[in-house]
């Protein structure tokens, strides 16, 4: 058969939501619960953690023992996808770099994320550093939505009263592991504060949270949770929204374009089914993009029409601009005092037990804004490669007989060293504010399409002095904490030649800014409600609208802003009807 036709549905939905991650999931949840008829399109397969999680599997149940061959975070991790997808390339302009992580599945990246759930603070929305840009909204405007997200989804933490690290409505936090007690002590000596973690894991039952189990402490949130004890958009938002009878999910639906009429108003979207490769068009009164910052930008740039010659929502020419990920750098070591430590189950939760919020006074520093530090180490589940460091360092400390030896070895002595060093490892990683710059961007590559015939993204992204200075500061801080807790550093300490270990942009998977919000239609893509300036029934609810992220992981802010946008949509509809 050679005929080519687009299968058009006759039903007109109240809203079409593209993407089922944190942003799309929350918008779908709010709108479906308000009684709107919602269609959600997801590029990947349906995914229900209750059935599909590889939680509680043992390393030997994977032929590669959890190695990261087909999944970047290992065989048991709950992200279908990675930085490279077969048949879905992207390109970079010479001399620049960007790594684009995509999870194609219901719930997207929320199935495997670290559940680190931090609010952006007053100074993140309205910075005073003179270099980073202000949002068109304040923390006070977003706070009620953060509060509701806390209650609706559940989060643990402690009230600390730190100005730019706003407290939420917290469940009890998990206690620190042994390594973390040493870290907290060492960090304190080094002048770095450490506070209990903040994560979206149910450490308590809540009357406001139904249909989800409480945490049973396997430490495997990254595999997604069979009892829905942590936040995944799939389990906590999309499936409950489906239960209202108002939200329908079409999976394996890769969106091609937002369809608009002659007046430039959105009338629906077209997509290709990744299973039968047929073309479809669906109609909606409102279109909401939550496909991820870069994917939503790509859809908008590919949605060209007479009314929107540069792509829908792109009259400012800024779609794709101001792309920014978090900065990231890390250092590893081990604690000699923990050699031959007693064994017990310290899996804990799969999110952070402790962290260091940004503490420095920037007036004394050469970069604006800052970073937080996440910590790791301990008696974790064995997995591919977890012993590799031992023969590199077993000569750095005296053996059980009190004598030093040369690192490496074999036989009974080495076998014993693997046991001796197990659980003594310690690691720390900084996650910081990278500046949103107009010159860091993604655009449509004029020369290439993916396997669906959709033009692909081309990235231009370069770190600048501010990010490098921040990474240098991270490394100095890490070394000082390691020193104060008596740890021996095992990783090579990165210097200027490697940008102090600064990860390539995209590696931290916190990309945002590509459809920034603002009051000036010439200087922004969306208004402060996430609504396109030049297409009133088109909204974006992922991290695209972020003007400038703080060092806080994006998800909690995506959820709060998506809830806010969805309720704005409801109000607008009321106005039209009333």
């Amino acid at each position: 058969m050679t005929d080519y036709q687009i299968k058009e549905s006759t039903e007109v939905y109240d809203a079409i939501v593209v993407g089922s991650g944190a942003g799309g999931g929350m918008a779908g949840y709010i709108l479906a619960h308000a009684g709107l008829k919602v269609l959600m399109l997801e590029a990947g397969p349906f995914f229900d953690p209750a059935k599909d999680a590889l939680q509680l599997r043992w390393p030997w149940e994977s032929p590669r023992r959890g190695a990261s061959t087909t999944r970047p975070f290992g065989d048991f991790d709950a992200a279908f996808g990675g930085w490279q997808l077969e048949g879905e390339p992207y390109t970079t302009v010479g001399g620049t770099e960007f790594e684009w992580f995509r999870a194609r599945m219901l719930g997207g990246r929320t199935n495997h994320w670290g559940r680190i759930s931090l609010r952006m603070g007053p100074d993140d929305f309205q910075p005073t550093d003179g270099e980073t840009e202000a949002w068109p909204i304040t923390y006070e405007e977003v706070k009620p939505f953060y509060d509701r997200v806390d209650r609706m989804i559940g989060i643990y933490g402690t009230v600390e009263g730190i100005r730019n690290e706003p407290d939420g409505i917290f469940m009890k936090p998990p206690k620190p592991r042994l390594n973390e007690l040493f870290i907290a002590k060492g960090a304190k000596k080094a002048g770095v504060p450490v506070i209990p973690g903040r994560g979206s894991v149910l450490t308590e039952a809540s009357p406001e949270i139904k249909g989800r189990g409480t945490c049973f402490y396997c430490g495997q949130c990254g595999r997604s949770c069979k009892v829905y004890g942590d936040f995944s958009s799939s389990s906590c938002l999309v499936m409950p929204a489906m239960k209202t009878g108002n939200l329908k999910v079409i999976d394996h639906a890769m969106v091609r374009e937002v369809l608009t009429n002659d007046e430039g108003i959105a009338i629906g979207v077209s997509y290709v089914s990744t299973t039968d490769m047929q073309e479809y068009a669906v109609k909606g009164k409102t279109v909401i993009l939550g496909a991820s910052a870069c994917e939503s930008a790509r859809i908008m740039l590919n949605s060209k029409s007479k009314a929107h010659p540069g792509g829908v929502g792109n009259s400012s020419g800024l779609v794709g601009r101001y792309l920014h990920d978090s900065t990231g750098a890390s250092l590893s070591g081990f604690l000699p005092q923990l050699l031959d430590r007693k064994r017990y189950n310290e899996d804990g939760v799969g999110s952070v037990h402790i962290y260091s919020p940004w503490w420095e006074d920037n007036t004394k520093l050469t970069f604006p804004r800052g970073y937080h530090i996440e910590y790791g180490g301990g008696l974790g589940m064995p997995s591919y490669g977890f012993t590799n460091w031992v023969p590199q360092v077993n000569g750095k400390v005296a053996g059980q007989n009190g004598e030093k030896k040369v690192s490496g070895g074999y036989g009974k002595d080495l076998k014993n060293d693997y046991r001796r060093f197990y659980g003594a490892n310690v690691g720390m990683a900084g996650r910081g504010t990278a500046l949103a710059r107009k010159d860091n961007y993604c655009e449509i590559d004029p020369n290439r399409v993916d396997k669906f015939g959709i033009p692909v993204l081309r990235f231009h992204y370069k770190w600048a002095n501010e990010e490098v200075a921040q990474a240098k500061h991270m490394q100095e801080t890490f070394q000082s904490i390691m020193h104060e807790m008596g740890a021996i550093i095992t990783s090579t300490i990165p210097g200027a030649d490697t940008l102090y270990g600064l990860e390539a942009p995209g590696k931290i998977i916190h990309e945002g800014g590509t459809t920034r919000m603002g009051n000036d239609p010439k200087a922004s893509v969306l208004n402060k409600w996430g609504q396109a300036h030049d297409c009133k029934n088109l909204y974006v609810v992922d991290a695209g609208p972020f003007v400038q992220q703080g060092d806080k992981n994006l998800t909690w802010t995506i959820l709060a802003l998506s809830m806010r946008t969805a309720e704005y949509i409801l109000e607008e509809k009321k106005k039209l009807n009333g």
């Binding site: 590889l54 907290a184 495997q220 017990y344």
Partner: protein, 211 residues
């Protein structure tokens, strides 16, 4: 749902049985140390399963190479009072799978095994596996310690480090190795912080959140 209901939902509380029954049954059931690719676990993507099956059907190492790998693996992780040897834990088959899974290791492994045989041939007039144990260890001693190895042995050092990492990875992620290293988790429980006796050992306060 409270915790008990969580566990029920997981199927971990059967009538009259303890929470841990399910996971210990599971351990007994798994006898093969390398997972067989024939069983597709829920949540494994089709392309991953197909790839696993395909890799498992391929054969990379020759019989001689596998025999050498087995001898080396048991030199690196021999049987002791606590647990069995690397080969008893299925390490050679794991290495066979891994070089197909991560093919950049094929040449370093094949070439390294050959390097070993050539060295043994020159020194002792025999392939590695046919040398006497003290001859084998004599050569291993020259490549097992990167910091003190002679410059002309560097290729051997690189090979042995790779082999050592594969062996330890394969052993300590097997059922036998996980038990040996004493990993006590991967089962439903309650985390109340570091046990008091451990806190006391390291001089931490047993009441304060941060010890």
């Amino acid at each position: 749902m409270n915790r008990r209901e969580s566990l029920k939902a997981l199927g971990l509380i059967a009538a009259g049985s303890g929470v841990l029954a399910a996971s210990s049954c599971q351990q007994e059931k798994t006898t093969a140390d390398t997972a067989t690719a024939s069983d597709k676990l829920p949540g494994v993507q089709d392309f991953e399963h197909e790839r696993n099956k395909q890799l498992q059907a391929e054969k990379f190492f020759t019989e001689h190479e596998m025999a050498t790998i087995t001898v080396l693996a048991d030199i690196i992780i021999p049987q002791d009072d606590t647990s069995g040897s690397a080969s008893e834990a299925g390490v050679p088959a794991f290495i066979e799978f891994m070089v197909k899974d991560l093919p950049e290791n094929k040449i370093p492994m094949r070439g390294g095994l050959k390097w070993l045989d050539v060295q043994c041939q020159k020194r002792y007039g025999n392939a590695f596996i046919n040398c006497k144990n003290e001859q084998q260890l004599g050569l291993i001693d020259e490549i097992a310690y990167p910091e003190t190895a002679k410059p002309e042995m560097r290729q051997g050092v690189a090979f042995f480090s790779l082999m050592r990492n594969f062996t330890a990875s394969g052993f300590f992620t097997s059922e036998m190795g996980v038990k040996d290293i004493g990993y006590a988790g991967n089962r439903p429980g309650v985390w109340n912080g570091v046990p008091p006796d451990v806190l006391q050992t390291y001089g931490f306060d047993t009441e304060a959140f941060f010890g």
